[in-house]
Subunit: 207 residues, 2 copies
DNA sequence: TCAATAGTGTCTGTTAGACATTATGGA
DNA sequence: TCCATAATGTCTAACAGACACTATTGA
């Protein structure tokens, strides 16, 4: 499953057949390919670009055809930057906003799971940074996080967390966009590792 | 991969062949079985009991034999309570402490991944409660969490978090164990859902 | 001068962890 | 009486979010 930020909303790449509901792109791997390689090739073929970040989601056991020949689908989630996602997609494939993906039951659940996984990884892998150019303003970075997360963030808190994590360093360039005060450009430059969060939390129970 | 608390340490069930290094139990699913069913059957056959909690870890692409026939391993992690794990294991299978599992490269990495996943799920699924009897003292519960997590917790904080999450309710029974003041017995009785944690955190970056 | 955006200082409520204290039974 | 464990109250540092304010540009 491929995600991309486009026009201020998170989009997902779906196959739209002439009849029937939309579904996610898939492929049956050829011999000699590892799972991540197959997933990257599928991305290149359907979206015309390779994901900046990709991770395995889950394996699904499909209907088993006959004894001894198990059929398993392995789902991946990846993100593609806005410029890379502007290339040509495969025939029948289209970027649609995740809010209106129009996927049927099982595939809709996979999409939800993919979004959850991606949002959790946002704190541990440079997902958002792979979607931005090498230098960017902190407002651009925050907007990218908000787009991926699906909710808005507090500006001051966002910058404090960013500083505490030593993830970015300022360049000596500024950029003026339209009206207001110009913003300083930053680059991704992780320096330290935050020690793991302390304590235990008891959050939601899936019962 | 099956985990069980035994004698104050977290153990993992491994197959110990007569020669060569230990490895994790595995099975090639029969036709008509779903993935979770196969995993549960494997657990019952090797450990003599069904896991109280189980979840899929990851799929691994093995060597691909020939074009069109992909070979994929799907790893599961599950936990088995101490009494249930006292039953007879399959021939060649044995519970060993995770610190001395003696697994070879790839399987050692799977074990690490399984522990990470299980520890994350501890906050979202009643993993620890499935390993305890229906009523238990808060100290027993805390010791179970510490055993699963691999580190010690702060008693007062543990109880505050527990209360804030509305996970347990007291019974009107007490139990005296050896010397000190008797402990009140509690039962697992989740009442509420904690709303998701606020804000954004930028933790470790796997680069 | 006004509007819009960048960037920052301060305050407050929440919470994790440290520490201390009380409670209560067995040895 | 002493000791071990349960249970809880209080203090503090860290931090997220709210709010307000300054800074700096284009219209």
């Amino acid at each position: 499953m491929l995600l991309a930020p486009r026009e201020g909303a998170l989009h997902v790449l779906v196959d739209k057949p002439l009849r029937g509901s939309a579904h996610l792109p898939w492929v049956s791997p050829r011999g000699g390919e590892t799972l991540p390689t197959s997933a990257r090739l599928l991305a290149r073929r359907t979206a015309g670009a390779e994901p900046g970040w990709m991770e395995q989601l889950q394996a699904f056991g499909d209907q088993l055809k006959h004894p001894g020949s198990a059929s398993v689908s392995v789902a991946y989630v990846g993100v593609i930057s806005a410029p890379a996602a502007d290339g040509r997609t495969a025939r029948g494939a289209a970027w649609v906003p995740v809010a209106h993906a129009g996927l049927a039951g099982r595939h809709a659940a996979i999409l939800e799971s993919a979004l959850d996984t991606m949002r959790v990884r946002l704190d541990h892998a440079p997902v958002a940074f792979k979607l931005l150019p090498p230098t960017f303003t902190l407002s651009e970075l925050q907007r990218m996080y908000e787009l991926l997360l699906g909710w808005t963030l507090h500006k001051a808190s966002f910058r404090r967390s960013l500083q505490a994590a030593y993830l970015v360093e300022p360049t000596d360039e500024w950029r003026s966009e339209g009206r207001g005060r110009p913003a300083q450009l930053y680059r991704f430059a992780p320096r330290k590792r935050r020690q793991s969060r302390r304590g235990v939390r008891f959050d939601v129970l899936g019962h």
